[in-house]
């Protein structure tokens, strides 16, 4: 979750870096910013969670000993021939369908040639003119702390390709180190239309893509490990102008908040140049986001279009999809984040609840299973978002790690609603269930926690407490009615929290006011 504080802090930092000027100036700049519009598109590389690489049977495990998962195919040794992993097509079709794309029934692989030490073959097997999927869109709900709202961002294309190895630039001067375990691992490149206008929109687009690939089970979507990599294209133009400004690409974005912050920085940088009559200083280039300094810096200037000399990959046959195959996958698609959010909305949950619950597929599954037991929807949401989420955060656990099952949460909610136990006892039981497991029924019996709902029994305890506190009783009857809370507390203490609060208060008030 992004924090609003972080966002503001960054903006302040940016302004000081850009101008180091008094507040009046920065207010003026805010005004200038309003006259410009940013046009943002995102290229995302999603590493597929297949067991093996795209074109050879080498296993891929993140963090494995370097240069151990290699073979003649991914090393590009002479005579080795690639054979496509069927999962890559399956995952490509899944993502294409989930992004509402049109699928190419017949596509192919192409060679993209360039020379770089992380690319053993001297070319990357990719898809050029005929991607497996194109022309779709992604629905996004913006977080409430950023104003909320719904957006639909266009998807230009989705294509299959292979990853390159990993290059490490160590401090010792003249050498770089290469690990080729990742060379040949399957990727989907997802290209958006230039439909985003703010850093928040771009970050939320990326977050939604992450949710989507996780829901589909095609990638772990982990940005820190590089399983989901976003490159941002951004230009600005004065509002009202139709043509796009000069496009700058930003790389090295390792989190959603860095996507958002890098864009905000870049907008400020470009607007400042524009407003100072130095728009010609904005050149087509690739810039790197520096997390430490919170700014973008030039990585390389583009000299025209790179000449990748694409041509059809002669070692691989075309990729043909049958309607049956596509329909089979379409029928097997899980409920996607957007569908889930709309369903939760219809259940009557607030947008904040909806976004929280649908954010993580495992949390959503837990919630769905809980309400599947017949539990009240809003109560289930409250327990999950409140005490359960807090427990997971404190203990650094995911919802799959906790001992509490959806069935028992349903049982707990029912027991409170039905009056068997009080809400306070419910909370105590919850923490027991979270940490140790067990059943609600078992814990209630074991700890003798059944709520006292017999009025006669409660009356007895009320009498006892009033008799034990004559001084407070006198004060109460003398007008200090706030002391009701004190008596209620004493009674709860006496009953170890088991007295039904409604009954307790009713009887207590009657008794307190009886002789006045």
């Amino acid at each position: 979750m992004r924090s609003t504080e972080g966002q503001t802090a960054t903006q302040e930092k940016q302004q000081t870096q850009l101008k180091a000027s008094p507040k009046k100036e920065s207010a003026k700049f805010e005004e200038v910013l309003k006259n410009y519009e940013a046009v943002i598109g995102i290229e995302t590389h999603v590493q597929l969670s297949t067991h093996t690489k795209a074109f050879c049977s080498c296993p891929y495990n993140y963090g494995a000993q370097p240069n151990t998962s290699i073979c003649p195919i991914c090393m590009g040794l002479p005579g080795a021939l690639p054979v496509l992993n069927s999962k890559v097509i399956e995952y490509g079709v899944k993502v294409g369908l989930a992004l509402n794309c049109k699928l190419s029934l017949s596509s192919k692989f192409d060679r993209k040639q360039y020379f770089y030490p992380d690319l053993p073959k001297g070319y990357q097997i990719s898809q050029f003119d005929i991607p497996i999927a194109s022309g779709g869109y992604l629905d996004v709900d913006l977080p409430l702390e950023f104003g909320g709202g719904h957006r639909k961002f266009g998807i230009t294309r989705v294509h299959m390709e292979e990853d390159a190895g990993k290059l490490l630039h160590t401090g010792n001067g003249s050498f770089s180190q290469v690990d080729l375990n990742r060379a040949g691992v399957p990727l989907l490149e997802i290209v958006s239309e230039p439909d985003m206008r703010t850093g928040i929109e771009a970050a939320e687009y990326a977050a939604e893509l992450q949710r989507l690939v996780r829901y589909l089970g095609v990638s772990n979507g982990n940005m820190q490990e590089g399983s989901l990599r976003c490159d941002v294209n951004i230009s600005i133009r004065p509002i009202g102008q139709l043509e796009f400004g000069t496009k700058v690409e930003i790389k090295n974005l390792n989190s959603f908040s860095s996507v958002s912050r890098a864009i905000d920085f870049e907008i400020s940088r470009q607007v400042l140049l524009h407003s100072q009559g130095q728009a010609n200083q904005i050149v087509q280039e690739t810039r790197l986001w520096e997390e430490g300094a919170q700014k973008t810096v030039t990585m390389r200037k583009k000299e025209g279009l790179s000449d990748y000399r694409y041509f059809p990959e002669p070692d691989l046959p075309g990729v043909t999809l049958s309607e049956e195959y596509i329909n089979g996958i379409r029928d097997s698609l899980p409920e996607l984040p957007e569908m889930k959010r709309r369903r939760y909305e219809k259940l009557g949950l607030s947008m904040q609840d909806v976004l929280f619950l649908a954010n993580d597929i495992n949390v959503a599954a837990f919630f769905d299973a809980t309400i599947g037991t017949g539990a009240d929807v809003k109560l289930a949401a409250n327990w999950i978002m409140g005490d359960i989420a807090a427990y997971m955060k404190n203990e650094k656990l995911s919802i799959n790690d906790i001992k509490l099952t959806p069935k028992e949460l349903g049982e707990l909610i029912a027991s409170i609603k039905g009056g068997t136990i009080s809400g306070k006892i419910g909370k105590e039981i919850l923490f027991e269930l979270l940490a140790k497991g067990g059943t609600v029924e078992g814990l209630i019996k074991e700890k003798d926690l059944v709520q006292i709902v017999d009025p006669a029994e409660i009356e007895k305890i009320v009498d006892k407490v009033l008799a034990a506190n004559p001084k407070q009783l006198e004060q109460y009857r003398g007008g200090k009615t706030k002391l009701q809370g004190f008596f209620a507390g004493q009674i709860m203490k006496e009953t170890k929290g088991k007295a039904n609060p409604g009954l307790l208060n009713k009887i207590l008030v009657e008794k307190l006011n009886a002789k006045s």
Binding site: T52, V83, I89, L105, D129, I130, V178, R300, L316, E324
Partner: protein, 137 residues
């Protein structure tokens, strides 16, 4: 992946990268607009540029020597343009017949990795050592 579907191939309004076709298909074969590289688009090879993209250093003498030879190879391929393709359906690529050439997602460790590593000119366990590179291109 079961059967290969006998469905009409997609036709793109993108120029193919290499095409030596002389004549377009008769209308009956072409459902959509299709562009072809005309013979005139086969420019004489720019040898210095070719050498640069292949990361090969050539002396001016070598450039002069290779240019006509490369030209000859291109012309040789250009003979393909004479082939009559009237009765051939457009294809996005030359295809292999029959089965989908796919494999299951089953890991297999290549057992002679040591030989691959041994063939790496500069290996500093566990990494391959290369001259310092920072920017692409």
């Amino acid at each position: 992946m079961g059967s290969r579907a006998a469905l009409p191939l997609l036709v793109r309004a993108t120029p193919p990268l290499f095409s030596f076709r002389k004549r377009p298909y008769p209308k009956a074969h072409v459902p959509n607009k299709r562009f072809y590289a005309q013979k005139s688009s086969l420019e004489p090879p720019n040898v210095p540029r070719l050498a640069e993209t292949a990361r090969i250093s050539l002396t001016p003498q070598e450039v002069d020597e290779f240019a006509p030879k490369i030209r000859q190879v291109v012309d040789w391929f250009a003979q393909l343009q004479a082939v009559d393709l009237h009765s051939v359906e457009p294809a996005i690529r030359a295809d292999t017949d029959g089965e989908d050439n796919l494999r299951g997602d089953v890991p297999e460790i290549f057992d002679n990795r040591d030989a691959i590593v041994a063939a790496v000119p500069t290996f500093e366990d566990p990494y391959i050592k290369v001259p310092k590179v920072l920017n692409k291109e």
